[in-house]
Amino acid sequence: MDLIFIADLLAATLAATVPLALCVTGVVIGERSGVLNLGQEGIMLMGAVCAFMVALNSGSYLLASLAGAAVGAAMGAAFALLTLVFQSNAVATGLALTIFGTGLSAFLGEAYVGESISGLGPLLPEALRTVPLLGPVFFGHDALFYAALVLCLLVHRVLHTQRVGLMVSAVGENPETAHRLGLPVLRTRWLTAIIGCAFTGLGGAYLAIVYTPLWTEGMTAGRGWIALALVVLAGWRVSWGLLAAFGFGFISISNLVLQGLGVTIPVNLLATLPFVMCLLALVIVSSGRRSEREPPRSLGQTYIKEN
């Protein structure tokens, strides 16, 4: 195993990290304000199929990314409408979104199976990309990669160091008290639900228009669910979430690693690995829980506004 192989692996891991990182960031935004949306898998699929359709028809990757985010936002709004206005059960509503998104994305995308687009080329100039080792690992990626990274770091900054972030946490920890302090609980949750899902939709878009780049039915392969588990693992923090996404990005390309090492494991057995690792991670985190790793106290609970 030489250095070039390791550099290639790192670059591939980083690319595989992006869809997960966007989804994890989106989930953190929602859950810190108490919004538990289990619809991530369906939202990601809808983001993926819509972005792919737009990219193929318009040729614009910017439009396609925006379409993915917009579809995610729309589904987030639907979730908010049901759970915040109609006060429906969050778990069941999220499942409805996943089932609906899986079905509708397959339906919309049927005509696009087998079509292909070129994918986004590298953003940075040749001179940077050919820097030994560092070049291929960090500088060879596309524009959406860097945009996603900046977005995630921005969310980290806003949620964990700004006043707005404290507001979101206050709403998530204790909505009744937040309400009495004059914070707009419902409006906060509407916004976090919508923005969070826009991130998830963008993650799906990255998967379909850059990472693969093609559309197949159910192409997210459980990434939405994995992201939900990674947020628990990360203790509801963006920074740890990004690290966890990187770890699982590596696991998702483990077939390449093993190929490089000359080991053959049946592909379907290998496919269980991310999910088994998620289970292990959940066990470790949940059994050794420290106070700062507690979930937001009102997570997933229905909030009824006092008059």
């Binding site: 639907a78 089932i99 079905g103 049946p266």
Partner: protein, 352 residues
């Protein structure tokens, strides 16, 4: 207008809201079909009426209802106890894999085949129960949320099944398809009526439903399950063990879902293939909500959702539309169901 909480949830709305939800889901689906250039009435007719217009269609309906009812019965038990088991799909697949492996190992045209078949069915139920036991263990011992663990186990079960049918259980005499050998005629569940595909599993699913209803409404165990589901503090004060209830409902649900799995393998399919589930474990969740946790409701809901699966296949054959339409309709249905549920707990009153 504003909302006012009802002192008790309204029985009338409890009955009416599923009907409203079904109507709204159908209207939305029609609008979607119209937007895509298909005549909505024709599509709805192909989806919901054409498939059950003859005896063969009704037998197919019973066939599809069997796994849905079994899974929904188990899930109703879990949800009533406040255990959000989303893993019926994985428990179903574990039942397929374990039960199917035993059936294949004992596969023979003669000998005590009734006992062989029974062993396979029991093994399938056990497989599902073991898969659910993992969820119970993770929740009671390690305090992991059952929602996430059961979802993860769904994927693990799916990929294990795919591995098995492409590897160790692959039919050596078959072509390169990832499928097991076919089960012998004697290893298949007998049909309810000769010449039709619906099998004795349908009777078993009705029995399971009756037993569930009796347990929930007539026994101390059923009472404990409801108390734990409603308030864990109350359950602790009454001295009911939450852990024991969690284990009971999960093991029952796993066994029922596993039964559904093995009965699909030894029923209509007759071998292990990658496509043993159309997402029954997920759709069963909608059955529980649509059926309002009531046995008769579950039965009607299972019939409607089974119909959406058959109708989806029908649309694929007749109009070349993808059968994922069924999933889309199901998602819409759950959506409207959750929205209309508000009216069972609240009433609209004019603002003073």
């Amino acid at each position: 207008m504003r909302l006012e909480r009802r002192s008790a949830s309204s029985l009338g709305w409890q009955l009416l809201s599923p009907l409203i939800a079904v109507t709204l889901a159908m209207l939305t689906a029609s609008a979607l079909f119209a937007a895509l250039g298909h005549a909505p009435l024709q599509v709805l007719e192909l989806l919901f009426i054409a498939p059950v217009s003859d005896a063969y269609g009704l037998s197919e309906l019973a066939l599809k209802m069997t796994p849905l009812l079994l899974c929904a019965t188990g899930l109703a038990l879990c949800f009533r106890a406040g255990v959000w088991n989303i893993g019926a799909e994985g428990q179903y697949l574990a039942g397929c894999l374990v039960g199917g492996s035993v059936a294949l190992a004992l596969n023979s045209p003669d000998g005590p085949t009734v006992w062989y078949l029974c062993s396979a069915v029991v093994a399938g139920a056990a497989g599902g129960a073991v898969w659910a036991a993992a969820v119970a263990l993770l929740r009671t011992r390690f305090h992991c949320s059952e929602v996430l663990t059961s979802i993860m186990l769904n994927y693990v079960a799916l990929y294990l099944l795919l591995w098995a049918v492409g590897g160790p259980l692959k039919d050596p005499a078959g072509y390169s398809f990832p499928e097991s050998a076919l089960l012998e005629e004697a290893m298949l569940l007998p049909p309810l009526v000769q010449g039709y595909r619906a099998h004795v599993g349908f009777a078993a699913s009705l029995l399971a439903l009756a037993v569930l209803w009796t347990v929930v409404s007539r026994t101390l165990l059923g009472f404990k399950i409801s108390v734990v589901g409603d308030s864990q503090a109350a359950a602790r004060h009454a001295g009911f063990s939450e852990h024991r209830v969690v284990w009971t409902v999960l093991l029952s649900c796993g066994a029922l879902a596993g039964l559904a799995g093995v009965m699909t393998v030894t029923g209509p399919v007759g071998q292990l293939t990658p496509h043993l589930s159309s997402g029954y474990g997920f759709t069963a969740i909608i059955v529980v909500f649509l059926g309002r946790f009531h046995p008769l409701g579950l039965l009607l809901a299972a019939a409607l959702l089974a119909l959406s699966f058959i109708g989806g296949e029908n649309l694929q054959i007749e109009l070349g539309l993808p059968k994922s339409i069924a999933l889309m309709f199901q998602g819409l249905l759950l959506f409207f169901l959750l929205a209309t549920e508000l009216l069972t707990h609240y009433r609209l009153v004019p603002r003073e």
